[in-house]
Symmetry: C2
Subunit: 179 residues, 2 copies
């Protein structure tokens, strides 16, 4: 390995595959600027992130090639084009919100100014996100298991996901933290 | 900039601050292995990720220094120590789940084998996560605004968050995507 970037694209684990698709943290901040900051133009992203143009160009190109963003003609009718999130990219909104809420409770010291995510309708802080069972029970670490299934939705079989690229078919295990 | 890593630690945006705290995608995969895979030992992480030992050591050290993981004596009484998530680290579970659910719906082709996150109690797939208002309304992109507030919870004032490090005090705006 030694610093060489491994691709997780063929990985069975959705989290590893996401890592491969989004690419790096800069790309997540580009998605943030598009989803939460309403930014659309190359120059807007560049100004917001303070990122070198060539690096930003590579990141945007990758996001487009992975179907997370797409280019559209500029909304003002000029010759420029703009970058907007596809529907797939817009669905990353919940990932951003989960990160936001974690940071709200974990990364700001008492007395520090911080952004608080509020409901636009009434200005009240939003509710903390939760993972729930279909019947509404809140699920915590250790309350979930993983089943391997075909994307089409045939009868589930228990299998274990593997972080390793070439051994995606090991035996089943519950997704339990051991603490 | 030119490839030089900027620190977002002082950034007003919780997402940027998270990027700085977690460090890189490798660290997210370490957190995944600890939270979902029950891994605790250096060798277990190394085997799972196929990551060079020196790189893994740096990542683990950073996660410990940021209060996301901590070292504890080995559970088998041997001289080794193990890495476990702190309570702050365990709260990242929801971020992993949000990524997981996005990937489930976005990154697997029909007919492809994928991991499906299920409720351990009844084996049913879990419900899709949602962002909700306090009164239960589902909130989507554009339904939220950001308020700057002191961590202690004094009366909220409207402000704009900024991705730029040195201008965290600009005027207010709704967090609306423009699409």
């Amino acid at each position: 390995m030694k610093g060489k970037r491994r691709s997780f694209a063929a990985d069975a684990c959705p989290i590893a595959r996401t890592v491969d698709t989004i690419g790096d943290w800069w790309s997540l901040l580009i998605i943030r600027d598009a989803a939460l900051g309403g930014k659309r133009r190359f120059g807007e992203f560049q100004k917001s992130l303070g990122l070198a143009k060539n690096i930003l160009a590579v990141r945007l190109r990758k996001l487009v090639s992975r179907g997370i963003m797409e280019t559209v003609p500029a909304s003002d009718g000029s010759a420029y084009h703009e970058y907007v999130l596809t529907e797939k990219g817009q669905r990353l909104h919940l990932v951003l919100m989960a990160i936001w809420q974690w940071a709200e409770t974990s990364l700001f010291a008492p007395g520090e100014m911080q952004g608080v995510l509020c409901d636009q309708q009434n200005g009240e802080p939003v509710a903390p996100m939760e993972l729930r069972a279909r019947d509404g029970r809140v699920l915590r670490i250790g309350d979930t298991i993983l089943r391997r299934d075909l994307r089409t939705g045939s009868a589930p079989k228990k299998h274990r996901w593997s972080a390793k690229r070439r051994s995606p078919s090991k035996r089943s295990t519950a997704l339990n933290a051991t603490r």
